[in-house]
Symmetry: C2
C-alpha cells in the first residue's frame, strides 16, 4: 500500500518539487507542505537580478513559467497539496511518526502525523560574530525579505557606498547589481581570489573584469567590525586597519545547512553539518528523507562527501526522494559533480568537477592545461573563452573543466559537465561530434580544442608553463621569453617581462639570431597559444632543448602588462 | 622510421588539418598539399553570412583566429608545408607510390612521390539534369567562386527575385542572406518539409519562422526547367506547372563526394559514393588515407554507413588520419553521430543522433517525446526551446535529440550530442549536474526536463499524443479536446479544433461539468505541456479512462490556429 500521509518541511525548492512529484505518483495521498516563511517556491537565485533592476516585478520570483503565482491556493487547486505558511515545525517525533507545528502568527500548536517525512529545511546565511553585525544596514542576501530590504534601499537611493563581504558568486552578482544601480562597491574576501570554484589564474581574470567595471576588490582581508552612527551602519573596519565608509554591507560568505530539527530528532548529521542521506536521499530513519540545501552529498568525482548547495540539484534531489518515498528505494541520486556557473557584468565563469587545486587536495595526480580561444569564427563577431581542463595523469580521465570569458561559457561548461558525468577519458573526447555552425561555434569547438591541447601535453608534444611561474621569473630569472606575435600586435600590447619579439612568420629564417644557447630554458607565447605551440616545435627541432609554451597565451594573462 | 614524404590532395578542411598535424608529429617530413583551386582553408560554412552582409571582408573567410591570411606563404613560413595551388592531381599511381600533377595555368605535368597519401578531395554540389541548368544566373553555393558570384549580384542590386532549390540548412541560410539583402526569395523542395535532419513537426516550426520573415516555401515541388531571356535566367518552371520569375536561382539540393581519383586508383568506394575508410581513416590501400567530405563513415548510433559531410568532422578526421599516417594505425575515429545545427533568422535548429523517422528507418523500436520550454527563467527574458528526445524502447538508451527555438539551442544540442556519445540511458540522465544560474538556464535545464518527460512516458505516468493526430481528428473526430489554460490566454490565442476550455485552476471543482463519459478519449493541452500533464492526472484520478496530453502544447503546434 502507498503511504497515505506525506509531510514535507520546507517550501523553497526541494520541498515543492517533492510535493508535486509525490502527488503525481500517489494521487490519493494526503500531502502537506509546511513553510516557516510567508512565501513558497521563491526563485532565490534571481534575487541579485531583482535587486539590480534587471526586472522590477517582484512577483516574477514566485511565478510558474506561464506567469501563475505559486501560492498555497495554487498548490491546493492545481495539485491538491495543503500548504501551511508562517508555520514552524518545532519537533519531529520519529517514534510517534508525527511533527509538532506552531503557527508563527497565532502561536497555535498542533501535531501532524506522517507515513513519510521529507526534510527540506534549506540553509541559513553564515554571519561572522563580529561587533556591529546586527546594525541596520548590515544584511545577508539569502531570504526574500533580505532581497526586499536591499531592493528597497537601492530604490530609495540613500546608499552611496556598499561593502560586500565575500567574493563568491552571490557576492559578485550582488556587486554587479549594486554597481549598475549607481552604488560604489567594495568586495572584501579573506582568501587570495574571488570565486573559489575556479583555480587562481582564472579567478584573477574575473577579478580584472570586476575592477574594469569599477568594483573595488580587497583580498586577504577580513572584517573586524561594523561601525554605526545614530544606530545605523556607517562603516566597515577591516582587519588591515582600514575603514570603509558605507551605508550598506552585505554578508555573502556562505551558508550553513539548517540541521537543527534533524539533529534533535537524532538523525545522522555529516561532518560538514549537512543531514546524511544515502543515494536514495533517505536519512538514517527509513521513513524520513531529506533533500536540498540541508543535506550533504557525495561528490562523484572526488568520492568525498561535500556540502555544495545548489538550487537545481535541490529540485532533482526532490524528484528522486519523492519516487523513493512513494515506491520504496528504487531511484538513485548519482551525487553532485559540483557544477556551477555565474555571470558578472558581461563576463561568465563556470566550472564542473574538480579544479586543479581541489583535485590535488582530493589526492589525484592531476594534469591541467589552459586554452584561450573564441566561441565562434572571428567573422561572426566572436567572443573570448579561456578554459582549464584537468585530467588524472594515470588514467587520462577527465576530473574537471573550468571556463570563463565573454563568449558562450554556458555551452562549454555543459559539455564539460556531461563529459565528467560520462567519465570520459581524453581519448574518448578527441573526436566528439558537437553542433557546428558559424553562429554557434568555430570549426573545432573550444572544449574539443582543450582536449586536443591536453592530448598534446600528455603525449609530450607540448611542454607548458603557467603564467604564475613566468611572472615569478620575469625580468631576470633563469627563463628567457620570446613573444612570437607580429610587430603590430607587440606595439599595441605587450607584457614587458624581459621578452624578445620574434614573430612566428620570421622564426624559421631567424633561428641563427636567437641569442640563447641550446640549454637555455625558453618560454614562447602569443595571444592565444597556437602560434607559440608552432614556435616551440620549430625551436625544438632547431636544437633548443628546453622550450615551453605559456599556456593560454596573453588572453589568459592575469598580471599587469607593460602596455 | 617515420614516413618522409607526405602528400595531401585537397586544401580545404581535412587536408590542411592533416598537413599541420603531420608537421607537428614529424618535424623532418616533406609535406606537400595540392589544391586545384585558387584558395586554401576556406571557411565555407561562412559563405551564407558573407553573402548576406553579416561581414563584408572576404579575407575573413581565409584567416586564422588572429587575423593572419592562410595562404601558401603562411603554410611555408609557419609550418614548412609546401602548398601547390591551381594544381590538379590527375592520377594516383598506387604501385609507383606517386601522384601525377597538372598545373592548371601552365598545363605543366609532373609527378610527386609519396610514402603516405591523404585524399581529401571534398565534394561537389549536385546539379539536377534539367533544361537551362547552365544558364547564367543559376548557381550552386559550394565554392568560394560561387560565393563571390552571389555576393556580387547581391551587391549590384540587380536581383529582385531569387529561387532556392533545396530547403536544407544551406538553402535556408542562403534564403535568410538574400532576404535580409532585400531580395524576394522562394524556396522549393521535393520533400514534404524543410531541414530533413529534423522530424516533420519541428521542421514545420522552422518553416513557420521562414514564412513570418517573408520567405516563400513550396514543398513537394521540383524544378522542371530554368528559362532564360537574352541568355540569362529569367524564371524557374516548377513541376506543378507554375513559373516563378527570378534573376537568380541557387541549387542547394546536396553534395556528392569527389571520388573519381580514388575510384580510378581502384580504392574501395562505398554504397553512398564516399571513399571507404576504416576506423583509422585508412582506405583499402594501407598507404592511403582519406578524410572529410569525400569519405563515408559509420554512424555510431545506427551502426550504418552514411554520408553526412560536415566541416568540423573533416577537421577531426584529418587529425586522426595524420596520427595514423605518421605512427601507424593507433588512433580511432569513433564515427559520426550526425550532429548538426543552424540558425535561420532568429530561430535556431539542431539535432544530434537519429530523429524519430530515421531511428525507425534504422530498425529501432523508438519512443519520442516533445518538450516545450524556455532557456532561462521568465524574469531573465527567456526565449523558446522546443525539443524532441528519442530513445530505444527496450533499453531506454538515447538515440537522438532535436531542438529548435529562439533560445539557446546550441547548449541543448551539445548536451544531447554528449549524452549520445556517452550512450546514456534515461535513468543516467535524470539527475545530471549541469550549469544553472538564471542568466543561463532555468532551475531544471530544458534537456533534463525532456528526460523527465520521457521517464514519465516510459513509466506510464503520461500518455502523449502528437499534434498531427490531433489535427487529423479536429472538429468532429473521436477525440475530445480540453484546453486547460486560463480564460485570458484562450481569448488571446486558441487552436479552434473543437476544444472546450476548462482552466486547470478550476478543473478539480468542475469535474462534474465535463460533458464526456468515462471512456471518451480526451486530449488535454496547454501552452507548454505542464498544466495539461497535471490536468490529465486529475481527470484520470476522477475516473476518465483515456486521457492524453498533447505533447509540446501550443508552443509546438505546427498547424494554423483559429486565433
Amino acid at each position: 500500500m502507498d503511504p497515505q500521509r506525506i509531510v514535507i518541511i520546507g517550501g523553497s525548492a526541494a520541498g515543492p518539487k517533492t510535493a508535486a512529484r509525490a502527488r503525481r505518483l500517489a494521487p490519493d495521498a494526503h500531502i502537506t507542505m509546511i513553510e516557516a516563511g510567508e512565501n513558497i517556491t521563491m526563485s532565490s537565485c534571481g534575487y541579485p537580478f531583482y535587486i539590480g533592476g534587471r526586472f522590477d516585478e517582484r512577483r516574477h520570483l514566485l511565478e510558474t513559467p506561464t506567469g501563475i503565482l505559486r501560492d498555497p491556493a495554487y498548490f491546493k487547486t492545481n495539485k491538491d497539496i495543503d500548504v501551511l505558511i508562517n508555520t514552524e515545525v518545532t519537533r519531529i517525533d520519529r517514534w510517534g511518526k508525527n511533527v509538532e507545528l506552531r503557527n508563527l502568527y497565532s502561536g497555535e500548536v498542533s501535531t501532524l502525523p506522517y507515513d513519510r517525512l521529507m526534510i527540506s529545511t534549506g540553509s541559513t546565511a553564515i554571519m561572522p560574530p563580529v561587533p556591529g553585525i546586527s546594525l541596520p544596514g548590515v544584511t545577508a542576501l539569502k531570504t526574500l525579505p533580505d532581497a526586499d530590504y536591499i531592493r528597497k534601499v537601492r530604490d530609495e537611493k540613500q546608499v552611496k557606498n556598499a561593502v560586500i563581504i565575500g567574493g563568491g558568486l552571490i557576492g559578485l552578482e550582488t556587486a554587479e547589481a549594486l554597481t549598475v544601480s549607481g552604488i560604489d562597491v567594495t568586495v572584501i574576501d579573506l582568501g587570495n581570489q574571488v570565486l573559489p570554484f575556479l583555480d587562481w589564474e582564472l579567478a584573477k581574470l574575473v577579478e580584472k573584469q570586476c575592477l574594469s567595471h569599477g568594483v573595488k576588490i580587497r583580498l586577504e582581508t577580513g572584517v573586524e567590525a561594523f561601525s554605526g552612527v545614530n544606530g545605523h551602519l556607517s562603516s566597515v573596519k577591516l582587519t588591515t586597519g582600514d575603514e570603509i565608509p558605507c551605508e550598506l554591507a552585505i554578508v555573502a560568505i556562505g551558508v550553513k545547512p539548517n540541521n537543527a530539527l534533524a539533529r534533535e530528532a537524532g538523525l545522522k548529521i555529516g561532518e560538514n553539518g549537512g543531514i546524511r542521506v544515502n543515494k536514495y536521499m533517505c536519512t538514517s530513519d527509513p521513513n524520513i528523507y531529506a533533500a536540498g540545501d540541508c543535506v550533504e552529498l557525495v561528490n562523484s568525482v572526488s568520492g568525498m562527501r561535500d556540502y555544495s548547495p545548489k538550487g537545481d540539484q535541490a529540485n532533482l534531489q526532490g524528484r528522486v526522494a519523492a519516487d523513493n518515498m512513494i515506491f520504496g528505494d528504487t531511484v538513485s541520486f548519482p551525487g553532485t559533480i559540483g557544477t556551477g556557473i555565474g555571470k558578472i557584468f558581461d563576463f561568465a565563469a563556470g566550472s564542473a568537477g574538480l579544479n586543479h587545486f581541489s583535485a590535488e587536495a582530493a589526492g589525484f595526480d592531476a594534469v591541467s592545461i589552459l586554452n584561450s580561444g573564441t566561441d565562434k569564427p572571428g567573422f561572426m563577431g566572436s567572443k573570448s573563452l579561456i578554459s582549464k581542463l584537468t585530467v588524472e595523469r594515470s588514467t587520462h580521465r577527465i576530473l574537471g573543466y573550468q571556463c570563463v570569458g565573454k563568449g558562450d561559457v554556458s555551452r562549454q561548461v555543459s559539455e564539460g559537465a556531461m563529459a565528467i558525468s560520462a567519465n570520459f577519458t581524453v581519448g574518448q573526447m578527441l573526436s566528439l561530434d558537437l553542433p557546428y555552425s558559424p553562429p554557434f561555434s568555430p570549426a573545432i569547438d573550444h572544449f574539443i580544442a582543450s582536449v586536443h591541447i591536453m592530448d598534446n601535453k600528455l603525449s609530450g608534444l607540448i611542454k607548458g608553463i603557467g603564467s604564475r611561474e613566468v611572472w615569478a621569473q620575469k625580468n631576470g630569472g633563469e627563463l628567457r621569453f620570446i613573444d612570437v606575435r607580429e610587430l603590430d600586435e607587440f606595439e599595441d600590447r605587450r607584457l614587458g617581462i624581459g621578452e624578445i619579439l620574434i614573430p612566428l612568420s620570421t622564426l624559421r629564417r631567424r633561428l641563427k639570431d636567437i641569442p640563447f644557447n641550446n640549454d637555455t630554458p625558453i618560454v614562447c607565447y602569443c595571444l592565444m597559444g597556437l602560434r607559440s605551440y608552432e614556435a616551440a616545435l620549430i625551436l625544438t627541432q632547431a636544437g633548443f632543448n628546453d622550450v615551453r609554451v605559456m599556456e593560454g597565451g596573453m588572453m589568459a594573462w592575469p598580471f599587469p602588462r607593460e602596455k
